[in-house]
Amino acid sequence: MTINSDTMRHLSEAQVSVELETEDMTLNIGPQHPSTHGVLRLVARIDGERAFDVQPVIGYMHRGYEKICEVRTYPQITTIINRIDWVSGYANEIPFIVAAEKLMEVEVPERAQYIRLILTEMARISSHLIFMASYPLELGAATPLFFALRERERVLDLLESVTGGRFHPNFNRIGGVKPAAGAGPTMKKTSQDLPANFLPETRSAMDRVMEVCDELEDLVAGNEIILARTRGVGVIPVEVAAAYGLSGPNLRASGVPFDLRKIEDYLPYDRFEFDVITGENGDCWDRWHCRLQEIRESGKIIQQAIDDIPSGDLLAKVPKLIKVPKGETYVRAENPKGEMGYYLVSDGKDGPYRLKIRSASFSNLSILPWVLEGVLVPDIIAIMGSLDFVLGDVDR
């Protein structure tokens, strides 16, 4: 018996048509799941290993901050907003404080601005190091976690030595930074500066962070398995990213050199040299690599800021009972996770009339249904992790 090519094609087609009839399965990932960073829930329809129609369900950590802020005074609000994105609590305070200062037309002393800038960059490093830690873990490698967290601990210790809080510094005041950062007998009334050896220790900590970046690059970046898992996975083109409001490293990974530190003037970033890191393809690998490079850039900024930090006051002259004049403004800042902004509406009282919190992770996460369409189940985790969200930042 001979089989010609026609018969062959016929046979293969027949095989396709009698393919097993399969049933889709609804897989509920979360709200309690090892890699949903808290309480995100994904409802996915999966066919074998392929997922379709992934719908994120959020709100398990909604704390109603926008409502709460309406009944708080301005000094009280800083304690709340650094709990929005607790991984970089310090950086959250900046745009709000700057917005209030704008309305009050307060000039912030130079030294306070530099301290803010150094601490913001340290918050960025600690946030990115968390990503460096958790992302390989989501791909199955546990060890980078400890390398990254070890250095993060160093950075957080320094942050704590200035502000008194590791995660929730509550260090910014309208008009500058907290004048009395700790307390001790007779310390109250005196102005209290950075700890004596904070700057040299920060410098050496930054050197160590650079070393660990190299270590992480050796451990993770060259790893063929990581490359196979992340290259070309979860590609987000610029247009889609912009329409969904993706910001921060996620947007830059798609190839746009858009960094609010270069554009807005909320902190004196224009005095320092640093590169805006961009990716090439907008895939998971680029998002990982962008963040690694940004740690290095932040280290550069901190070193430069330590070099020329001026001396002077920490707090401008502001009334004891803070009342913000009537007005509206939107201030956005480049947070570790992306664009963090506050639309502050004041009507002249001691608390805001309305405070819209634009958090980066909320918009970053809203792209999930688009980017997770038709990917494999392991890639759901890989893509989700690469967006680097914090559920507190999503739910607010």
């Binding site: 912009a242 409001g245 910001s247 609010l260 939107y330 634009r358």
Partner: protein, 201 residues
Amino acid sequence: MTSSPSETEAAVETEPQAHPLQEYADGVADAVGGTAEIQFDTIKVKVPNDAWVDAHVTARDQFDLVFFSWLSAIDWCNEVEVGDELSEEVEERFELLTTLGDLTEGKRVTFSTDLDAKTPVIPSLIEVFAGANWHEREAHEMFGIDFLGHPNLAHLYLPDGFLGNPLRKSFPLLTREVKPWPGKVDVEAMPEKPTTENPES
């Protein structure tokens, strides 16, 4: 000030001399058929209700404002259950806000439109910016604003069956209702002597 008189009026109130962004703001306002106002470096373009979607299309296509930052609302309301009352009377309304940005120069424009306080309805932006999806869901549950043409206005944050719109000023904040304020307690006065050394709160 090279713009038409009606726009200048709105801008002049807060800015005595021309803001460097004024020209750009007026350009955007002219193109979308609204009025521009600059407050503290924030360009706010007020557009009429029915030009809402078109304004965003124009902003996106002509002014390259492709970055959809956020969408939210403000409840302007004279009677409040929570927080302080307004210092002066306002027209009762919802103000819907979006902020768009470009990805090159860092320009950003906040668009605003007023919605009726009783029946707030507006066409959805979801066709213009896909990212408006979640923001509109949030505004829907928080303020009760209806977005026509939105495919799924289900609750985003709140549990199913939650009644009310929490960010409306008429929605009481329960945590502040159930517990008395500890600061209300005062030092017991001396008999027949009023306390005098209480600092103002």
